[in-house]
Amino acid sequence: MPQDLDFNQLNTLIRSANAGWQAGPTSVSDLSAEDQKSRLGYFPAGGEESLEQRIQAAAAKLSSIQASAIGAPAAFDWRNVNGQNYVTPIRNQGGCGSCVSFGTTAAVESAMRIQRGDPGLAVDLSEATLFFCIGPSSGASCGGGWYMTPAMDGYKNTGVPDEACFPYTDHQQACARCADWQSRAIKITGWHTISNAADIKTWLSTKGPLSSCFTVYNDFFAYKTGIYRHVSGGVAGGHCICVIGYSDAGGFWICKNSWGTGWGESGFFCIAYGECGIDSTMWAVEGILQTGWLNNTRVIGLWTIDQDRNAWAYLQGAGWRKIAWGNDNIFFDLLRLLAAAKEGARPVNVYQDNGVIKQIYVL
Protein backbone atom coordinates (compact mmCIF):
# COMPACT_ATOMS: atom_id res chain seq x y z
CA MET A 1 0.00 0.00 0.00
CA PRO A 2 1.26 3.51 -0.67
CA GLN A 3 3.07 4.91 2.28
CA ASP A 4 1.10 7.24 4.53
CA LEU A 5 -2.26 6.01 3.21
CA ASP A 6 -4.71 3.72 4.96
CA PHE A 7 -7.21 1.61 3.07
CA ASN A 8 -10.01 4.15 3.50
CA GLN A 9 -7.89 6.90 2.03
CA LEU A 10 -6.82 4.71 -0.84
CA ASN A 11 -10.40 3.69 -1.60
CA THR A 12 -11.40 7.35 -1.56
CA LEU A 13 -8.73 8.07 -4.15
CA ILE A 14 -9.86 5.10 -6.23
CA ARG A 15 -13.46 6.31 -6.17
CA SER A 16 -12.41 9.86 -6.98
CA ALA A 17 -10.51 8.62 -9.99
CA ASN A 18 -13.41 6.35 -10.96
CA ALA A 19 -10.76 3.65 -11.19
CA GLY A 20 -13.08 0.71 -10.68
CA TRP A 21 -11.38 -1.38 -8.03
CA GLN A 22 -11.31 -1.83 -4.26
CA ALA A 23 -8.39 -1.83 -1.88
CA GLY A 24 -8.15 -3.65 1.41
CA PRO A 25 -5.92 -5.80 3.55
CA THR A 26 -4.29 -8.64 1.61
CA SER A 27 -1.63 -11.24 2.28
CA VAL A 28 1.02 -8.79 1.07
CA SER A 29 -0.43 -5.35 1.84
CA ASP A 30 1.11 -5.07 5.28
CA LEU A 31 4.57 -6.33 4.39
CA SER A 32 7.50 -3.96 4.45
CA ALA A 33 8.40 -2.26 1.18
CA GLU A 34 11.41 -4.53 0.92
CA ASP A 35 9.34 -7.67 1.41
CA GLN A 36 6.76 -6.46 -1.09
CA LYS A 37 9.46 -5.90 -3.67
CA SER A 38 10.67 -9.45 -3.11
CA ARG A 39 7.26 -10.67 -4.42
CA LEU A 40 8.12 -9.24 -7.86
CA GLY A 41 11.25 -10.06 -9.88
CA TYR A 42 11.00 -8.94 -13.51
CA PHE A 43 14.09 -7.18 -14.76
CA PRO A 44 13.96 -6.82 -18.55
CA ALA A 45 17.20 -7.77 -20.30
CA GLY A 46 18.38 -9.40 -23.48
CA GLY A 47 16.56 -6.96 -25.74
CA GLU A 48 13.22 -7.09 -23.94
CA GLU A 49 11.44 -3.75 -23.64
CA SER A 50 12.13 -1.77 -20.50
CA LEU A 51 9.27 -1.27 -18.08
CA GLU A 52 8.94 2.32 -19.23
CA GLN A 53 8.89 1.28 -22.88
CA ARG A 54 6.16 -1.22 -22.09
CA ILE A 55 4.06 1.46 -20.40
CA GLN A 56 4.42 3.80 -23.35
CA ALA A 57 3.75 1.10 -25.96
CA ALA A 58 0.64 -0.14 -24.16
CA ALA A 59 -0.76 3.35 -23.73
CA ALA A 60 -0.06 4.22 -27.37
CA LYS A 61 -2.14 1.35 -28.70
CA LEU A 62 -4.97 1.59 -26.19
CA SER A 63 -7.58 2.35 -28.84
CA SER A 64 -6.65 -0.74 -30.84
CA ILE A 65 -6.75 -2.84 -27.68
CA GLN A 66 -10.18 -1.56 -26.79
CA ALA A 67 -11.52 -2.42 -30.25
CA SER A 68 -13.00 -5.87 -30.53
CA ALA A 69 -10.79 -8.28 -32.42
CA ILE A 70 -12.34 -9.63 -35.61
CA GLY A 71 -12.98 -13.32 -35.17
CA ALA A 72 -12.32 -13.34 -31.43
CA PRO A 73 -15.14 -13.45 -28.88
CA ALA A 74 -15.92 -10.33 -26.86
CA ALA A 75 -14.89 -12.09 -23.67
CA PHE A 76 -12.97 -15.23 -22.76
CA ASP A 77 -11.82 -16.89 -19.54
CA TRP A 78 -9.84 -20.14 -19.45
CA ARG A 79 -11.31 -20.83 -15.99
CA ASN A 80 -14.69 -21.35 -17.61
CA VAL A 81 -14.69 -22.74 -21.12
CA ASN A 82 -18.01 -24.50 -21.44
CA GLY A 83 -17.86 -25.07 -17.72
CA GLN A 84 -14.30 -26.45 -17.77
CA ASN A 85 -11.31 -24.90 -15.96
CA TYR A 86 -7.97 -25.13 -17.76
CA VAL A 87 -6.08 -22.96 -15.25
CA THR A 88 -3.97 -24.68 -12.61
CA PRO A 89 -4.25 -23.63 -8.95
CA ILE A 90 -2.83 -20.38 -7.63
CA ARG A 91 0.75 -20.68 -6.34
CA ASN A 92 2.78 -18.46 -4.03
CA GLN A 93 6.28 -17.33 -4.94
CA GLY A 94 6.77 -15.98 -1.41
CA GLY A 95 9.69 -13.72 -0.70
CA CYS A 96 11.76 -14.56 -3.77
CA GLY A 97 11.83 -12.61 -7.03
CA SER A 98 10.86 -15.63 -9.10
CA CYS A 99 7.72 -14.25 -10.77
CA VAL A 100 9.13 -15.01 -14.23
CA SER A 101 9.28 -18.69 -13.36
CA PHE A 102 5.69 -18.68 -12.08
CA GLY A 103 4.32 -16.59 -14.97
CA THR A 104 5.82 -18.87 -17.61
CA THR A 105 5.04 -22.10 -15.79
CA ALA A 106 1.38 -21.15 -15.42
CA ALA A 107 1.13 -20.68 -19.20
CA VAL A 108 2.86 -24.02 -19.87
CA GLU A 109 0.62 -25.87 -17.40
CA SER A 110 -2.52 -24.50 -19.03
CA ALA A 111 -1.12 -25.30 -22.48
CA MET A 112 -0.74 -28.91 -21.37
CA ARG A 113 -4.34 -29.13 -20.22
CA ILE A 114 -5.60 -27.47 -23.39
CA GLN A 115 -3.44 -29.52 -25.74
CA ARG A 116 -4.56 -32.73 -24.08
CA GLY A 117 -8.17 -31.57 -24.00
CA ASP A 118 -8.21 -32.51 -20.33
CA PRO A 119 -9.07 -29.72 -17.86
CA GLY A 120 -8.64 -32.18 -15.01
CA LEU A 121 -5.08 -33.11 -16.01
CA ALA A 122 -2.98 -33.23 -12.85
CA VAL A 123 -0.05 -31.04 -13.81
CA ASP A 124 2.20 -29.12 -11.45
CA LEU A 125 5.60 -28.22 -12.87
CA SER A 126 8.66 -27.31 -10.86
CA GLU A 127 9.15 -23.54 -10.77
CA ALA A 128 12.21 -24.23 -8.62
CA THR A 129 13.85 -26.19 -11.42
CA LEU A 130 13.28 -23.39 -13.89
CA PHE A 131 14.52 -20.70 -11.53
CA PHE A 132 17.29 -22.36 -9.53
CA CYS A 133 18.63 -24.86 -12.10
CA ILE A 134 18.09 -23.24 -15.50
CA GLY A 135 17.99 -19.62 -14.40
CA PRO A 136 21.39 -18.97 -12.82
CA SER A 137 23.30 -19.13 -16.12
CA SER A 138 21.35 -16.07 -17.25
CA GLY A 139 21.41 -14.28 -13.92
CA ALA A 140 18.28 -15.49 -12.12
CA SER A 141 18.30 -14.98 -8.37
CA CYS A 142 15.79 -14.32 -5.63
CA GLY A 143 17.26 -10.90 -5.03
CA GLY A 144 17.84 -9.95 -8.65
CA GLY A 145 14.87 -11.48 -10.46
CA TRP A 146 15.00 -12.69 -14.06
CA TYR A 147 13.64 -12.05 -17.54
CA MET A 148 11.41 -13.86 -19.99
CA THR A 149 13.62 -14.97 -22.88
CA PRO A 150 15.81 -17.44 -20.94
CA ALA A 151 12.77 -18.77 -19.09
CA MET A 152 10.94 -19.60 -22.30
CA ASP A 153 14.16 -20.93 -23.83
CA GLY A 154 14.60 -23.07 -20.72
CA TYR A 155 11.27 -24.72 -21.36
CA LYS A 156 12.15 -25.21 -25.01
CA ASN A 157 15.73 -26.41 -24.75
CA THR A 158 16.07 -28.04 -21.34
CA GLY A 159 12.63 -28.86 -20.00
CA VAL A 160 11.09 -28.72 -16.55
CA PRO A 161 9.99 -31.75 -14.49
CA ASP A 162 7.09 -32.05 -12.09
CA GLU A 163 6.98 -30.16 -8.79
CA ALA A 164 7.81 -33.25 -6.72
CA CYS A 165 11.18 -33.48 -8.48
CA PHE A 166 12.28 -30.18 -6.94
CA PRO A 167 9.64 -28.57 -4.71
CA TYR A 168 9.66 -24.79 -4.54
CA THR A 169 10.72 -22.89 -1.44
CA ASP A 170 11.18 -19.12 -1.42
CA HIS A 171 14.85 -18.65 -0.71
CA GLN A 172 18.00 -18.59 -2.80
CA GLN A 173 19.29 -22.15 -3.15
CA ALA A 174 21.37 -24.48 -5.26
CA CYS A 175 19.80 -26.67 -7.92
CA ALA A 176 18.54 -29.84 -6.24
CA ARG A 177 16.33 -31.46 -8.86
CA CYS A 178 15.73 -35.20 -8.74
CA ALA A 179 18.13 -37.62 -10.40
CA ASP A 180 15.64 -38.69 -13.08
CA TRP A 181 14.51 -35.18 -13.94
CA GLN A 182 15.25 -35.58 -17.64
CA SER A 183 12.79 -38.43 -18.07
CA ARG A 184 10.16 -36.37 -16.22
CA ALA A 185 10.79 -33.11 -18.03
CA ILE A 186 8.20 -31.26 -20.09
CA LYS A 187 9.46 -29.24 -23.04
CA ILE A 188 7.66 -26.80 -25.29
CA THR A 189 7.85 -26.88 -29.07
CA GLY A 190 8.56 -23.17 -29.25
CA TRP A 191 7.47 -19.72 -28.14
CA HIS A 192 7.05 -16.28 -29.59
CA THR A 193 5.98 -12.81 -28.57
CA ILE A 194 2.71 -11.18 -29.61
CA SER A 195 2.26 -7.41 -29.65
CA ASN A 196 -0.73 -6.83 -31.89
CA ALA A 197 -3.86 -6.39 -29.79
CA ALA A 198 -6.12 -8.43 -32.06
CA ASP A 199 -3.56 -11.23 -32.23
CA ILE A 200 -3.34 -11.31 -28.43
CA LYS A 201 -7.09 -11.80 -28.11
CA THR A 202 -7.18 -14.34 -30.91
CA TRP A 203 -4.40 -16.37 -29.29
CA LEU A 204 -6.04 -16.13 -25.87
CA SER A 205 -9.39 -17.30 -27.17
CA THR A 206 -8.12 -20.13 -29.36
CA LYS A 207 -4.72 -21.33 -28.13
CA GLY A 208 -4.28 -20.61 -24.45
CA PRO A 209 -3.07 -18.26 -21.72
CA LEU A 210 -0.12 -15.92 -22.31
CA SER A 211 2.67 -14.79 -20.04
CA SER A 212 3.06 -11.06 -19.58
CA CYS A 213 4.87 -8.54 -17.41
CA PHE A 214 4.02 -5.07 -16.15
CA THR A 215 5.00 -2.32 -13.76
CA VAL A 216 3.72 -2.77 -10.21
CA TYR A 217 2.94 0.36 -8.22
CA ASN A 218 2.56 0.34 -4.47
CA ASP A 219 -1.25 0.45 -4.51
CA PHE A 220 -1.34 -2.91 -6.32
CA PHE A 221 -0.38 -4.79 -3.15
CA ALA A 222 -3.73 -3.75 -1.63
CA TYR A 223 -5.84 -4.91 -4.59
CA LYS A 224 -8.89 -6.83 -3.43
CA THR A 225 -11.27 -6.88 -6.39
CA GLY A 226 -12.37 -4.98 -9.49
CA ILE A 227 -10.51 -3.69 -12.53
CA TYR A 228 -7.11 -2.41 -11.45
CA ARG A 229 -5.83 0.95 -12.62
CA HIS A 230 -2.88 2.69 -11.02
CA VAL A 231 -4.09 5.41 -8.67
CA SER A 232 -1.50 6.04 -6.00
CA GLY A 233 2.01 5.16 -4.99
CA GLY A 234 5.36 4.92 -6.69
CA VAL A 235 6.92 2.13 -8.72
CA ALA A 236 7.68 -1.02 -6.75
CA GLY A 237 9.16 -2.97 -9.66
CA GLY A 238 8.47 -5.24 -12.62
CA HIS A 239 6.31 -8.32 -12.29
CA CYS A 240 5.33 -11.23 -14.54
CA ILE A 241 2.06 -13.11 -14.43
CA CYS A 242 -0.14 -15.24 -16.67
CA VAL A 243 -3.00 -13.68 -18.66
CA ILE A 244 -5.91 -16.13 -18.77
CA GLY A 245 -8.68 -14.09 -20.39
CA TYR A 246 -10.17 -10.73 -21.22
CA SER A 247 -13.40 -8.78 -21.48
CA ASP A 248 -13.99 -6.18 -24.17
CA ALA A 249 -17.12 -4.93 -22.43
CA GLY A 250 -15.23 -4.33 -19.21
CA GLY A 251 -12.03 -3.36 -20.98
CA PHE A 252 -9.73 -5.61 -18.96
CA TRP A 253 -7.40 -8.59 -18.94
CA ILE A 254 -7.94 -11.43 -16.48
CA CYS A 255 -4.69 -12.53 -14.87
CA LYS A 256 -3.32 -15.25 -12.60
CA ASN A 257 -0.88 -13.93 -10.00
CA SER A 258 1.58 -15.88 -7.84
CA TRP A 259 0.97 -14.33 -4.44
CA GLY A 260 -1.27 -17.04 -3.00
CA THR A 261 -5.05 -17.00 -2.66
CA GLY A 262 -5.00 -14.38 0.11
CA TRP A 263 -4.41 -11.60 -2.39
CA GLY A 264 -6.83 -10.20 -4.98
CA GLU A 265 -9.76 -12.23 -6.20
CA SER A 266 -8.58 -15.51 -4.66
CA GLY A 267 -5.22 -14.97 -6.32
CA PHE A 268 -6.52 -13.61 -9.65
CA PHE A 269 -6.94 -10.01 -10.76
CA CYS A 270 -8.35 -7.90 -13.57
CA ILE A 271 -6.32 -5.04 -15.01
CA ALA A 272 -7.55 -2.41 -17.46
CA TYR A 273 -6.47 -2.52 -21.09
CA GLY A 274 -3.37 -0.39 -21.66
CA GLU A 275 -2.53 -0.16 -17.96
CA CYS A 276 1.00 -0.37 -16.56
CA GLY A 277 2.41 -1.87 -19.77
CA ILE A 278 0.49 -5.13 -19.35
CA ASP A 279 -0.40 -5.50 -23.02
CA SER A 280 2.67 -4.10 -24.73
CA THR A 281 3.99 -7.58 -25.55
CA MET A 282 2.94 -11.00 -24.36
CA TRP A 283 4.69 -14.37 -24.59
CA ALA A 284 2.99 -17.38 -26.20
CA VAL A 285 3.73 -21.06 -25.62
CA GLU A 286 3.34 -22.74 -29.00
CA GLY A 287 2.93 -26.35 -27.94
CA ILE A 288 4.02 -29.07 -25.54
CA LEU A 289 6.63 -31.71 -26.22
CA GLN A 290 6.01 -34.49 -23.82
CA THR A 291 7.88 -37.59 -22.78
CA GLY A 292 5.64 -40.40 -21.63
CA TRP A 293 2.50 -42.27 -22.56
CA LEU A 294 -0.46 -40.60 -24.19
CA ASN A 295 -3.23 -43.11 -23.72
CA ASN A 296 -6.55 -43.70 -25.40
CA THR A 297 -6.09 -41.14 -28.12
CA ARG A 298 -6.95 -41.18 -31.82
CA VAL A 299 -5.07 -40.63 -35.05
CA ILE A 300 -6.82 -37.72 -36.76
CA GLY A 301 -4.48 -37.08 -39.65
CA LEU A 302 -1.25 -38.12 -41.35
CA TRP A 303 1.30 -36.08 -43.26
CA THR A 304 4.36 -36.81 -45.34
CA ILE A 305 6.69 -35.03 -47.73
CA ASP A 306 9.39 -35.80 -50.28
CA GLN A 307 12.11 -36.21 -47.66
CA ASP A 308 13.71 -39.30 -46.15
CA ARG A 309 11.78 -40.80 -43.21
CA ASN A 310 9.67 -37.71 -42.57
CA ALA A 311 6.07 -38.42 -41.64
CA TRP A 312 3.90 -37.08 -38.84
CA ALA A 313 0.65 -38.10 -37.19
CA TYR A 314 -1.94 -35.70 -35.81
CA LEU A 315 -3.02 -37.13 -32.45
CA GLN A 316 -6.24 -36.07 -30.78
CA GLY A 317 -5.42 -33.87 -27.83
CA ALA A 318 -1.75 -33.55 -28.76
CA GLY A 319 -1.50 -32.23 -32.32
CA TRP A 320 1.22 -33.11 -34.82
CA ARG A 321 3.85 -35.59 -33.64
CA LYS A 322 6.82 -36.76 -35.68
CA ILE A 323 7.25 -40.48 -36.22
CA ALA A 324 10.59 -41.91 -35.07
CA TRP A 325 13.03 -42.06 -37.96
CA GLY A 326 15.91 -44.09 -36.52
CA ASN A 327 15.93 -46.54 -39.41
CA ASP A 328 13.65 -47.66 -42.21
CA ASN A 329 11.85 -50.47 -40.42
CA ILE A 330 11.23 -48.43 -37.28
CA PHE A 331 9.78 -45.63 -39.38
CA PHE A 332 7.58 -47.84 -41.53
CA ASP A 333 6.38 -50.11 -38.71
CA LEU A 334 5.21 -47.13 -36.69
CA LEU A 335 3.70 -45.35 -39.69
CA ARG A 336 1.83 -48.46 -40.78
CA LEU A 337 0.35 -48.98 -37.32
CA LEU A 338 -0.71 -45.37 -37.08
CA ALA A 339 -2.34 -45.66 -40.50
CA ALA A 340 -4.09 -48.85 -39.41
CA ALA A 341 -5.41 -47.13 -36.30
CA LYS A 342 -6.71 -44.28 -38.41
CA GLU A 343 -8.29 -46.66 -40.91
CA GLY A 344 -10.10 -48.57 -38.23
CA ALA A 345 -10.84 -45.52 -36.07
CA ARG A 346 -9.19 -47.46 -33.24
CA PRO A 347 -7.88 -45.94 -30.00
CA VAL A 348 -4.12 -45.92 -29.55
CA ASN A 349 -1.67 -45.62 -26.68
CA VAL A 350 1.41 -43.73 -27.84
CA TYR A 351 4.76 -43.27 -26.13
CA GLN A 352 6.38 -39.95 -26.96
CA ASP A 353 10.00 -39.04 -26.36
CA ASN A 354 10.18 -35.26 -26.46
CA GLY A 355 7.25 -35.29 -28.82
CA VAL A 356 8.55 -38.02 -31.12
CA ILE A 357 6.35 -41.12 -31.45
CA LYS A 358 8.50 -44.09 -30.44
CA GLN A 359 6.02 -46.78 -29.43
CA ILE A 360 2.40 -47.49 -30.19
CA TYR A 361 -0.37 -49.85 -29.18
CA VAL A 362 -3.38 -50.07 -31.50
CA LEU A 363 -6.27 -51.22 -29.35
Binding site: G301, W303, T304, I305, W320, K322, F331, R336, A339
Partner: protein, 119 residues
Protein backbone atom coordinates in the same frame (compact mmCIF):
# COMPACT_ATOMS: atom_id res chain seq x y z
CA UNK B 1 13.59 -43.83 -63.09
CA UNK B 2 10.89 -45.90 -64.79
CA UNK B 3 8.17 -43.86 -66.40
CA UNK B 4 5.48 -46.48 -66.76
CA UNK B 5 2.08 -45.01 -66.06
CA UNK B 6 -1.16 -46.63 -64.94
CA UNK B 7 -3.20 -47.45 -68.02
CA UNK B 8 -6.62 -48.00 -66.52
CA UNK B 9 -9.00 -45.06 -66.64
CA UNK B 10 -10.39 -43.57 -63.47
CA UNK B 11 -14.18 -43.50 -63.71
CA UNK B 12 -15.26 -40.92 -66.23
CA UNK B 13 -12.64 -38.34 -65.49
CA UNK B 14 -9.42 -39.50 -67.03
CA UNK B 15 -6.80 -36.84 -67.04
CA UNK B 16 -3.71 -38.72 -66.07
CA UNK B 17 -1.25 -36.19 -64.77
CA UNK B 18 1.98 -37.00 -66.53
CA UNK B 19 5.00 -37.15 -64.28
CA UNK B 20 8.52 -36.46 -65.36
CA UNK B 21 11.62 -38.05 -63.98
CA UNK B 22 12.24 -37.13 -61.15
CA UNK B 23 16.27 -29.76 -43.95
CA UNK B 24 13.30 -31.81 -42.54
CA UNK B 25 9.96 -30.08 -42.86
CA UNK B 26 6.96 -30.30 -40.55
CA UNK B 27 3.21 -30.11 -41.15
CA UNK B 28 1.57 -26.76 -40.63
CA UNK B 29 -2.12 -27.37 -41.30
CA UNK B 30 -4.75 -27.95 -38.64
CA UNK B 31 -7.53 -30.52 -39.11
CA UNK B 32 -10.10 -29.20 -41.59
CA UNK B 33 -13.49 -27.97 -40.51
CA UNK B 34 -16.64 -29.06 -42.26
CA UNK B 35 -17.07 -25.52 -43.56
CA UNK B 36 -13.91 -25.66 -45.65
CA UNK B 37 -14.62 -26.27 -49.29
CA UNK B 38 -12.44 -27.72 -52.01
CA UNK B 39 -9.85 -25.36 -53.40
CA UNK B 40 -6.78 -25.20 -55.52
CA UNK B 41 -4.15 -22.68 -54.54
CA UNK B 42 -0.95 -21.96 -56.37
CA UNK B 43 2.27 -20.62 -54.92
CA UNK B 44 4.89 -20.23 -57.62
CA UNK B 45 5.33 -23.57 -59.31
CA UNK B 46 3.61 -25.34 -56.42
CA UNK B 47 -0.09 -26.08 -56.51
CA UNK B 48 -2.04 -27.14 -53.45
CA UNK B 49 -5.04 -29.31 -54.30
CA UNK B 50 -7.39 -29.55 -51.35
CA UNK B 51 -10.24 -31.70 -50.09
CA UNK B 52 -9.92 -34.49 -52.63
CA UNK B 53 -10.65 -38.22 -52.35
CA UNK B 54 -8.34 -41.01 -53.41
CA UNK B 55 -10.35 -43.52 -55.42
CA UNK B 56 -7.64 -45.76 -56.85
CA UNK B 57 -4.08 -46.95 -56.30
CA UNK B 58 -1.52 -48.32 -58.69
CA UNK B 59 1.96 -49.72 -58.44
CA UNK B 60 4.23 -51.87 -60.57
CA UNK B 61 7.45 -53.86 -60.27
CA UNK B 62 9.60 -50.90 -61.08
CA UNK B 63 11.76 -48.85 -58.81
CA UNK B 64 9.88 -46.05 -57.01
CA UNK B 65 6.80 -46.03 -59.21
CA UNK B 66 3.55 -45.64 -57.37
CA UNK B 67 0.49 -43.55 -58.25
CA UNK B 68 -2.78 -42.55 -56.67
CA UNK B 69 -6.04 -41.84 -58.43
CA UNK B 70 -7.49 -38.53 -57.33
CA UNK B 71 -11.22 -38.11 -57.83
CA UNK B 72 -11.88 -35.39 -60.37
CA UNK B 73 -8.21 -35.10 -61.26
CA UNK B 74 -6.88 -38.46 -62.43
CA UNK B 75 -3.69 -40.37 -61.79
CA UNK B 76 -0.99 -38.51 -59.89
CA UNK B 77 2.49 -39.92 -59.44
CA UNK B 78 4.04 -39.94 -55.97
CA UNK B 79 7.39 -38.21 -55.46
CA UNK B 80 10.14 -40.64 -56.38
CA UNK B 81 13.26 -38.99 -54.99
CA UNK B 82 13.60 -41.29 -51.98
CA UNK B 83 12.74 -44.89 -51.03
CA UNK B 84 11.35 -43.95 -47.66
CA UNK B 85 9.40 -40.98 -48.99
CA UNK B 86 7.63 -42.94 -51.70
CA UNK B 87 6.71 -45.74 -49.29
CA UNK B 88 5.36 -43.20 -46.80
CA UNK B 89 3.33 -41.59 -49.57
CA UNK B 90 2.01 -45.00 -50.60
CA UNK B 91 0.95 -45.81 -47.04
CA UNK B 92 -0.85 -42.49 -46.74
CA UNK B 93 -2.45 -42.94 -50.15
CA UNK B 94 -3.68 -46.38 -49.19
CA UNK B 95 -5.04 -44.98 -45.96
CA UNK B 96 -6.91 -42.29 -47.85
CA UNK B 97 -8.31 -44.87 -50.27
CA UNK B 98 -9.55 -47.02 -47.41
CA UNK B 99 -11.02 -44.29 -45.23
CA UNK B 100 -12.19 -41.93 -48.01
CA UNK B 101 -10.91 -39.11 -45.83
CA UNK B 102 -10.08 -35.73 -47.29
CA UNK B 103 -6.67 -35.31 -48.88
CA UNK B 104 -4.73 -32.10 -49.40
CA UNK B 105 -1.63 -32.40 -51.52
CA UNK B 106 1.08 -30.25 -53.07
CA UNK B 107 1.90 -30.87 -56.70
CA UNK B 108 5.05 -29.46 -58.23
CA UNK B 109 5.97 -28.58 -61.80
CA UNK B 110 7.03 -32.20 -62.36
CA UNK B 111 3.37 -33.10 -61.78
CA UNK B 112 4.26 -35.38 -58.88
CA UNK B 113 2.79 -35.24 -55.40
CA UNK B 114 5.45 -33.84 -53.04
CA UNK B 115 3.50 -33.29 -49.82
CA UNK B 116 0.31 -34.85 -48.54
CA UNK B 117 -2.18 -34.53 -45.68
CA UNK B 118 -4.74 -37.26 -45.05
CA UNK B 119 -7.57 -36.48 -42.64
Amino acid sequence: MPDTKPQQDLLSSVSTAGAGEGGAAAPTAEPPTSAEGGAIGAVGASVWVNNKKINALWSINENRNSWVGVAGVGWVKLANNSDTAIVAFTILGANARQTQGNVNYRQESDNMMHEMYVW
